[in-house]
């Protein structure tokens, strides 16, 4: 794994605009950053990242199988009681998952370590699936990458295939609705892209803001009062459970993507439960709930993360009493986990995190975010990669 400084394409902004990738720059700061790239060997991709991702998928599904009907575990995860049956039922039916992203600490030497699993509402998808691939194509054509340069990226094809499988596996003939908070350009862009993939898979789709969803005659309806049979929601399960409609009987009449059982895995408490289930696993870091006395096993170097948090909010990094990093935010009421601190590789002051994508149950590609901080947040830059 190497970080290479390279010359950005002169027309990359125009290329991004042409593809509708509008948040390549955020408040004047680059989000898409092709002044550098990461180079991997095929061995690093296949034996380390892809293999670790496959192992983490298996571990995650095993954890859900154990926890979905375990009230004590759901309580530890601070999942509200009114959601328990919905979660258990969705797992009993094996309601399908579309996608997720494992965030890994990886330096090209040791085993990748799981920092967290964005199992419910992962973003940074279009740039990983499409714009990064376009960069590779241009690199090969223009000669700044070798003709045989490759990329770990089959996201787009797998997403379309997964939508086909989801469509085939559901006898509900109605439209597939998409929703998110419409005020977020990144979120609307993500569901625009996923909707496009669904349509290419032959599904009938529609889209509306999360706040526009209605309830009528005990079912969720869209703005035309059409029943919402299937809903892809880029809106976290913990928010749904806390919202007024989260306790509505209509919750049982719509099938959701991601399914309710995914809320177990998107919860940072799952990191503690995974470690409890598979202590010493090479791709896991020692993690405990903050109210668990065993957290002292971790020692003086740790990261503290809220059970529910997004975009690196409310994270604390400590090394032997010294605060290495701290972010603010609005999370943490439900509790925290403490995770052994792992050193991210430091490339001239840039700390990359490897986002390893899963579509269905299969590894599907990577997208790298880097920051000058050890905490990856919503402003961390997306840097492309290739396989040498």
């Amino acid at each position: 794994m190497r970080r290479l400084a390279i010359k950005p394409r002169g027309d990359w902004r125009a290329c991004a605009q042409a593809l509708g990738f509008v948040h390549h720059t955020i408040e004047g700061e680059p989000y898409w950053d092709e002044s550098a790239c990461y180079a991997f060997t095929l061995r690093e991709i296949e034996d380390d990242i892809e293999a670790a991702t496959g192992a983490l998928v298996e571990l995650s599904l095993e954890l859900v199988a154990r926890v979905a009907g375990d009230e004590q575990a759901l309580e530890r995860l601070a999942i509200p009681r009114h959601a328990w049956d919905l979660i258990a039922e969705s797992w009993r039916r094996r309601e399908p998952s579309l996608y997720g992203r494992f965030d890994l600490a990886y330096d090209g030497k040791g085993a990748p370590k799981l920092l967290e699993y964005n199992a419910d509402t992962p973003t940074a998808l279009f740039e990983a699936a499409v714009f990064q691939w376009r960069w590779l194509e241009d690199g090969r054509a223009r000669g700044f990458l070798g003709h045989d340069a490759d990329q770990f990226n089959s996201l787009h094809e797998k997403l379309i295939q997964r939508w086909r499988e989801v469509g085939r596996g559901d006898d509900r003939a109605g439209m597939l609705h998409f929703t998110c908070m419409g005020a977020s350009a990144e979120d609307t862009g993500t569901i625009d892209y996923l909707e496009d993939c669904a349509r290419q898979a032959g599904l009938s789709t529609g889209k509306l803001d999360i706040g526009a969803i209605g309830v009528k005659d005990g079912t969720f309806v869209d703005l035309q009062d059409q029943r919402i049979e299937r809903l892809f929601k880029l809106y976290p399960w913990e928010f749904i459970f806390a919202d007024a409609f989260g306790t509505s009987p209509a919750m049982r009449r719509t099938r959701f993507l991601e399914p309710p059982w995914k809320c177990i895995l998107s919860n940072k408490g799952a990191l503690a439960l995974l470690w409890e289930m598979a202590p010493g696993h090479p791709n896991l870091l020692p993690t405990f709930f903050l109210d668990d006395d065993r957290k002292s096993q971790i020692g003086p170097r740790f990261a503290q993360k809220p059970l529910y948090s997004r975009e690196g909010a409310n994270v604390l990094l400590v090394d032997d009493g010294k605060v290495l990093g701290r972010t603010t935010g609005t999370y943490g009421l439900e509790g925290y986990v403490r995770q052994a601190l792992v050193d991210l590789p430091n490339f001239d002051g840039n700390y990359p995190v490897v986002g390893s994508w899963v579509v269905g149950d299969h590894p599907a590609g990577v997208g790298i975010r880097e920051d000058h901080s050890r905490i990856t947040g919503d402003r961390s830059r997306f840097v492309p990669h290739y396989i040498e």
Binding site: A18, L19, G20, F21, V22, L42, D120, T121, P122, V130, W133, R134, E137, D150, Q151, H156, E157, I160, M175, T179, M181, G182, T188, G189, D192, E195, D196, C197, R199, Q200, G202, L203, S204, T205, G206, K207, L208, D209, I210, G211, A212, I213, G214, V215, K216, L223, Q224, D225, L234, Y235, E238, D243, A244, S266, R310, E311, A313, T330, G365, D378
Partner: protein, 92 residues
């Protein structure tokens, strides 16, 4: 090879006029009074529903693709989702 480049090229071509092109139409959503902004295509519903066909360039040819206003006859209760997320960023 870790992926099929041939498939991707076709898909990226679709995307050029597909998913992210919708951003360019964000300001074309019908406003609260049911009025389509100048320069935008009009739509009777402000809502896109289409049957996909691989490689089609017509996915976003109608109106932008979001529902933006409810049918006047709607009696549904609305606004029960979104409050918790309003103070947070929903993605990760």
């Amino acid at each position: 090879m870790k992926r099929s480049s041939a498939v991707m090229l076709i898909a990226a071509g679709t995307l050029t006029v597909g998913a992210y092109a919708v951003h360019e139409q964000r300001n074309c959503r019908i406003d609260g009074n049911g009025v389509t902004p100048p320069g935008c295509q009009s739509s009777s519903s402000g809502f896109s529903s289409s049957r996909g066909s691989s490689g089609s360039t017509s996915f976003y040819s109608s109106s932008g693709s979001s529902q933006s206003s409810s049918t006047p006859a709607s009696t549904a209760a609305r606004g029960g989702f979104g409050a918790t997320g309003a103070a947070h960023s929903a993605g990760s």
